[in-house]
């Protein structure tokens, strides 16, 4: 079993990149791997409390919670990116980490694979 670090950067909500990251994480954890997921740029919106489950908008929180409860999945918001958007710790879903950017590099140090989802 291995460890993969995924970075989801500058993701549009609605771009399906967050959906990809969560579905991939779910498949990896079910196979027994460990996953670190780093959210930066607009990706940090995934950590916002109080998102609504609308049909026109993919709602990922149920799967995220299952993943967190598996003990094999860490999800961390970029602190500066979130704060810039008005999302402080008190506004962040419980179970999400909040850290500075070196967290991603530290995770990259000790991981087997990186999947850095950049793009727009």
């Amino acid at each position: 079993m291995g460890k993969i670090t995924i970075g989801c950067f500058s993701s549009l909500v609605g771009s399906m990149s967050l959906d990809f990251a969560i579905k991939f994480s779910d498949a990896a954890v079910k196979k027994g791997h460990e996953v670190d997921l780093w959210l930066s740029g607009n990706g940090t919106m995934l950590g916002k409390k109080g998102q609504s489950k609308f049909r026109d908008y993919s709602y990922l929180m149920d799967t995220v919670m299952e993943l967190i409860n598996s003990g094999k999945f860490k999800i961390t918001n970029c602190e500066a990116c979130a704060k810039a958007r008005g999302i402080g710790r008190e506004d962040t879903v419980e179970g999400f980490g909040v850290a500075s950017m070196d967290w991603y590099l530290a995770s990259a140090f000790s991981t087997d694979r990186i999947l850095h989802i950049g793009g727009e």
Partner: protein
């Protein structure tokens, strides 16, 4: 190196021509699956013209209205998220998302 390149857009990424690797795999995901499922003006996508391994994500084909058998070239292996996890851990060392 063994390099998996994710193509997530339906246009030819400029970098694709340049990237070299001992083993190179192109993984078509998100809008990248249109390269696998469509011809334009009768021609297959230039993304498919390399002598490398090709994969297309089944879930992203189906979301967009295609079935797994719609791929335009049999050299494209259709895989799901499960298969993709195995691919990344077992067959490739590094990844690039374009």
């Amino acid at each position: 190196m063994r390099l998996a390149v994710f193509v997530s857009e339906y246009r030819e990424p400029e970098m694709l021509e340049r990237l070299k690797a001992e083993k190179l795999g192109i993984v078509l995901v998100q809008n990248g699956v249109y390269h696998a499922a469509l011809k334009k003006d009768g021609n297959v996508s230039p993304v498919l013209s390399k002598d490398v391994e090709y994969y297309a994500l089944s879930e992203d084909l189906q979301s967009r209205g295609f079935s797994d058998s719609d791929v335009v070239d049999s050299k494209i292996k259709v895989i799901n998220y499960d298969g993709l996890v195995d691919l990344i851990f077992n067959d490739y060392e590094k990844t690039i998302w374009l």
